[in-house]
Symmetry: C2
Subunit: 335 residues, 2 copies
């Protein structure tokens, strides 16, 4: 079938109407897209900042919609199901990573913007194993960012394997940071949120976390060896050593974003009376996705969103290029 | 009692005879020292490279000797026992770390060269809980480096929680690296040893590992995503990104040494299709020490050593300052 999308033909160009052919395979689901987020990451794909964009590109990897057709082998979905789709579209299901339930590391995987077309479109055809039913009580627009940001943050937190009521720091209070605070609070942890924006203090406190002004070196250093886990959602450089020092022995620093430039650290802080760990995480497995959606439904985890019609995509891109928006922009495609 | 030691009075000075008073407390053991290593780390303590040396300092934190006297509360040791002692001398046994069996992170701990006097001496008095009986089949001189180097490397390896027959890389083939190869091989893993010294190829192969010339960028990059775990024993800077790329998804880079200068890494390599981890480790817990000694005895793990009489300490220091010695220098104090 012919799918209508918004494509970017070459590096740095603006999105324009783009059509591509794809058929519904035996394992696929055809989804009519109702919501798709657009964020800084999409602009970075359009600009090929990571060097792995394939043009023409259709970005958009946080997608909510309704199943319109299923392939012959599909048993877990039905036409009419409300579903979410994230970054990953396919996996081999045969390699050591797939067999271990870590499809996100499959060397044969297909992901939006690199190997296949994404959600800034009217429809998408995806392997049904990467099309996830949305629990009934999740709002479509507010759940859209869960499909990638939510998965990334949730998986990064569960990897830390925290004890009950751990002391946790969150660096950066944008979309990822706000989600992290919600997940962590609802898991029963004590959360401090580090931000250099005093204007976010109220929002942070409403989410149940303690605000720490990250521009106040004295306040930050007072928290020496206080944290079991610190999750950084910052995509700008920061002094990693400063935050390593805030970790207890055996404490962990999780990173779900970073600037492109190399960052420097004092390796001694990892082992000197400490045995500290740094790890990265991006997205998660199918099981992580299902766990995250169930957790979000049970605990009413919701993203801060601003809804715009699909037709306003150009305006959305201008907003993303010019401002630091705390809410995630969601393009809505009325059915 | 008055203990005769070799002390350094001030930063950069040379060791000279030094006497201090210490009594055998209720929990202590008095040990007549028969062997003590002297290594680059001792010179660094004498020069206060880490900034935490307390002068006058008696270094030496890999010690083997014989128990001469025990305190009233000591039940696990007897006079005449052959024992080993490492870096840590005391812990509070009450804090959260001690209660969890991680005495090496105790904030009240005492360690040689920072809070107490070490093994370049005739005797040492240590809390009996940090005095470990040596299994009978371990040679005193060859076992001496196990008490700190062995503990550090063994604990770093066990923290990686490797599956059976994992693919492991070892960076640097000095004392720590050679120990790492032995532990890893005897745990059943496949080991590649990275060194820029072709002269070490034979020694590496005799230890059962594959030699990789780390100065050959092509050979190194060919090993892209091959390793479950890489252990770096290098105390000079190296390109961390190069080795992160050699790790499989979910692979781990363990660091047991580092230069004092900050090192730079590309954070994206930690999470981009990967979820990789970096951690540090120095020494280990009491349980780690007992496990490591039992493993070493069972599998005949031995360090490459060169034995010199205590009286030749000045000569040993000159050797350490001027050369890169593959063998660990052990000063012997004939009983």
């Amino acid at each position: 079938m012919k799918i209508k999308a918004c494509g970017v033909k070459e590096k740095g160009a603006r999105p324009e109407p783009f059509y591509y052919e794809k058929e519904v395979g035996r394992n696929d689901a055809l989804v009519k897209i109702t919501h798709c987020s657009i964020a800084r990451g999409d602009i970075q794909f359009m600009n090929d900042d990571w060097g792995d964009t394939n043009f023409p590109v259709v970005t958009g990897h946080e997608i909510v919609g309704v199943v319109e057709e299923i392939g012959a082998n599909v048993t877990d979905l039905q036409v009419g199901d409300r579903v979410g789709i994230g970054y990953q579209q396919e996996a081999c299901f045969e390699c050591e990573f797939c067999r271990a339930g870590n499809e996100q590391f499959c060397p044969h995987q297909k992901v939006i913007a690199v190997n296949c077309y994404g959600g800034l479109a009217e429809h998408i055809i995806t392997d049904n194993r990467f099309v996830f039913k949305l629990p009934a009580n999740l709002d479509s627009a507010k759940a859209t960012p869960l499909m990638s940001s939510g998965l990334t943050v949730y998986t990064a937190i569960t990897k830390a394997n925290l004890k009950h009521n751990a002391m946790v720091g969150v660096l950066g209070v944008g979309g990822l940071g706000l989600l992290a605070i919600q997940f962590l609070k609802k898991m029963g942890h004590t959360v401090s949120a580090f931000s250099h924006s005093p204007g976010k203090k109220e929002m942070i406190e409403q989410a149940g976390a303690t605000y720490v002004d990250s521009s106040n070196e004295h306040d930050v250093s007072q928290l020496h060896k206080q944290f079991d886990f610190i999750l950084s959602t910052l995509n700008v450089g920061f002094n990693i050593d400063t935050y390593l020092k805030l970790l207890k022995p055996q404490g962990k620093l999780g990173l779900v974003a970073s600037p492109l430039q190399k960052q420097s650290i004092s390796i001694g802080l990892l082992y000197d009376y400490a045995q500290r760990t740094i790890y990265g995480n991006y997205v998660g497995s199918r099981k992580d996705m299902m766990d995250m959606l169930a957790f979000s439904a049970k605990h009413n985890v919701e993203c801060l969103v601003e809804i715009m019609p699909f037709a306003d995509m150009d305006k959305a891109i201008e907003i993303l290029k010019s401002q630091n928006v705390p809410a995630r922009l969601i393009l809505e495609n009325p059915l």
